[in-house]
Amino acid sequence: MEEAKKPVIEVRGLDLSYDDYAVMRNLNFSVKKGEIFVVMGGSGCGKSTLLKVLIGLKEPEKGEILYEGINFWEQDEAGQQKIMRRFGVLYQGGALWSSFTLGENIALPLQLYSGLSPEQIREMVELKLALVGLSGYTDFYPSEISGGMRKRAALARAIALDPDIIFFDEPSAGLDPLSARLLDDLILQLKDTLGATIIVVTHELASIFAVGDNAALLDTESKSMIASGNPKDLLANSKDPRVIQFLTRGEKQAMPA
C-alpha cells in the first residue's frame, strides 16, 4: 500500500491574510490519499481563507501548495485549471446557481468536461441526485427546496465529475442536527465508494469526531497550527490545554504533564 501513503496535498510554509491582516503564519501539513482531513479552529482563525487558497481561488501571501507533487501557483492558467478540474467543492451556503434548476446545476460541469451525450448526461444527473437522496427533484429551482436539501444538491454538483479531492466548507453550518448527521454520513460514504480524498473545514465537534481521519487545529491567538493528528487521539493524548479545551467545548482541562 505504498500508494496510499503518498500525500495528495502538501502545504509548505503557508502564510494567510485577510484584508491585509495576517491570520496564519507558516502552516505545514499534508493530506494523504483517501483520507478525510479536517481543518478545525474557532471563528476568525482563517479556516475559510485557507479553503479559498486550497481550491485555488486566492493566491497565498507566502508558501507553496503541492497537489501530488505539482506546485499549483507555479503552473500557468491551463495547468491550474487542469488541477482545479479534479476538485469538487461544497460551499458553505451550497452556492447552487439560482437561475438553474437542480438538474441544470449538475449537468453544467458534465456538459463542459465530459464526452457524454445529452441523454447520458440526463441519466448521470438522475444518478447523482439519487446518491444524495434527491431523486425526482431534477426540475426544482434552488429557491424551492429547504436549506438541507440545497446542501445535498450542491454536494451532487460537487461530485458530478467524480472528483479526486472534495472540499467541504462548514458542511453542517445552518443545518439541524439530523440533516447535519445525514451529510456526515454522506461524506463517509463518498470516501468509501468514490475513494476520494476529502477535506472538511469545520468547527462542529460532532462532525469532527464522526468523519475525521486526521485533523489540523488552527489557533487564532498564536496564528499557527497547534495540533495535528487523529481527532480522537488528540483528545485522548494531547497535553496542550488549548487542544483539549477546543475538543471538549472547554469542559475539560488537559492533564498536567
Binding site: 460551499y91 452556492a95 446557481w97 463542459l112 468536461y113
Partner: protein
C-alpha cells in the same frame, strides 16, 4: 419613585453609597458625577461600600452606573466592596468586569489627512486598473464568442434580451413622449416671437434623433437594467455562486458578463430608435393638437430636417451607452462585498457611474462630431 443617591461615612476612609428608589432606564438615573465629586471632596477615602436595602426595582441602568463607578474607583485605587448590592446585580457586574484574555484584533487607527488623500489616490489607480482588467477580460470573452468557443446559455441570453428590451418598452415610451412634448413646448415659446412655430418640427426631430432619444434611453436603462445587473451579479458573488463557476474553470466574465453586455449592445440601438419615434410622435401630437400647426406641413418639415447622419450619430451614442451601462453594472456586481451593505453600494455605484459616464461620453462624441463637421 425615581432613583436617588445619598452618602454616609460608617468609618474613617470609607464611603457608603445608599441607593434608593427605582433604578430603571425609563425613569432616569442620577449622574455618576455625584459620587465622583463626593470622592474628590474627601481625599482620604480608600473604600466604597453600597447599601441597596431601600432600592426598588432595577435594570441594566443600575448595572451600567455601577460598572462605570467601579472602573473610575479602580483608576483612583479605591477599593470597592460589592456587598450590599442585589444578588442579580452582583452577578451581572462580575460578568461585565471579567477580564478576557483574548487578543483583540487591531482596529485600524484613524489616519492622518495626507495619508487618507494618498490612500484615496492609490485606491483610484487600483480601481482604474481593475476596470481595464475587466474590459480586457470582456474583450477576450468576445474574442471567444466570435471564434465560436464561448460558453454561455442561449436561453439565459434570450431572457436577458427580453428583460432589457421588450420589458423596458413601456417606460421608454412614456419618457420619450414626454421629452418630445417638453421640447415642442419650449420651442413654441421662443419661435412664436418670430411666427416660426413650424420649426418646432426641426427642433424636436433633430434633438430626439441626434442625442435626446439615446440619452433618455441610456438613463432609463442605467436605472433599470444597470442596477439589476449589479444586484444579480452582486448576490451571486455574495452566495459564492461566482466562486462555484471559477472552481469549475468557467470564466464568470464569459458566462455572466458577456451575454449581458451583448444583450444591451443589441437592444440599446433598437430601444433608441423606438424612443426617437415616440419623441417625434409626442412633439407631433402637441404641435398639431395644442399649438394648431398643420400636420402635413409638420411632417414634411420633420422629414427635411432629419438627415441620415443624425440618425447614425444617435445610434453610435446608443451603442456606446449600452457598453457603459452593462460594464458599470457588471463590474460593480462582481466587485460586490459580502454583506447587505455591499449590495447596496454595488447597485448605487453602478447607476451613478453609468449616468456620469453617459454624460461624459455624450460630451466627447459631440466634440468629435464638431471636429468632423457632422
Amino acid at each position: 419613585m425615581p432613583a436617588k443617591l445619598s452618602f454616609d461615612y460608617p468609618s474613617a476612609g470609607s464611603l457608603r453609597v445608599k441607593l434608593s428608589g427605582n433604578w430603571q432606564i425609563d425613569v432616569g438615573l442620577p449622574a455618576e458625577n455625584e459620587v465622583i465629586s463626593e470622592l474628590s471632596s474627601h481625599k482620604d477615602i480608600t473604600q466604597v461600600t453600597f447599601d441597596a436595602s431601600e432600592a426598588g426595582s432595577w435594570d441594566s441602568g443600575l448595572v451600567s452606573f455601577l460598572f462605570h463607578l467601579i472602573k473610575d474607583c479602580e483608576r483612583k485605587n479605591i477599593r470597592v466592596s460589592h456587598q450590599g448590592l442585589p444578588p442579580g446585580v452582583e452577578k451581572l457586574l462580575a460578568l461585565a468586569l471579567k477580564v478576557h484574555s483574548r487578543i483583540m484584533p487591531q482596529k485600524a487607527a484613524a489616519e492622518h489627512f495626507l495619508a487618507r488623500v494618498g490612500s484615496k489616490a492609490l485606491e483610484f489607480s487600483a480601481g482604474a486598473l481593475s476596470l481595464f482588467n475587466f474590459l480586457g477580460e470582456i474583450a477576450v470573452a468576445f474574442g471567444r464568442l466570435f471564434s465560436g468557443r464561448a460558453y454561455f446559455r442561449r436561453d439565459e441570453f434570450i431572457s436577458i434580451v427580453q428583460k432589457c428590451g421588450v420589458d423596458a418598452l413601456g417606460l421608454v415610451s412614456l419618457i420619450s413622449i414626454m421629452v418630445g412634448v417638453i421640447l415642442a413646448f419650449i420651442g413654441a415659446i421662443q419661435l412664436r416671437l418670430f411666427g416660426a412655430q413650424i420649426f418646432i418640427a426641426d427642433i424636436v426631430g433633430i434633438a430626439m434623433i441626434r442625442v435626446m432619444g439615446a440619452i433618455m434611453t441610456g438613463i432609463i436603462m442605467s436605472g433599470r437594467t444597470g442596477a439589476s445587473f449589479a444586484a444579480e451579479l452582486g448576490l451571486m458573488q455574495v452566495n459564492e455562486e461566482v466562486d462555484a463557476f471559477k472552481t469549475l474553470g468557467i470564466s464568470p466574465v464569459e458566462f455572466l458578463v458577456m451575454p449581458r453586455v451583448l444583450a444591451l449592445v443589441i437592444m440599446m440601438p433598437l430601444l433608441t430608435l423606438y424612443a426617437d419615434f415616440m419623441g417625434i410622435a409626442g412633439g407631433f401630437l402637441i404641435s398639431t393638437r395644442v399649438l394648431d400647426l398643420n400636420p402635413v406641413e409638420y411632417w414634411q418639415h420633420t422629414q427635411s430636417a432629419v438627415s441620415l447622419s443624425n440618425l447614425w450619430i444617435g445610434l453610435i451614442h446608443s451603442v456606446v451607452f449600452g457598453v457603459i451601462i452593462a460594464v458599470c453594472g457588471c463590474l460593480r456586481g462582481m466587485q460586490c462585498e459580502r454583506s447587505a451593505e455591499g449590495l447596496g453600494v454595488a447597485t448605487t455605484s453602478a447607476v451613478v457611474n453609468a449616468i456620469t459616464s453617459i454624460v461624459v461620453a455624450t460630451a466627447i462624441i459631440t466634440f468629435i462630431c464638431q471636429l468632423l463637421g457632422v
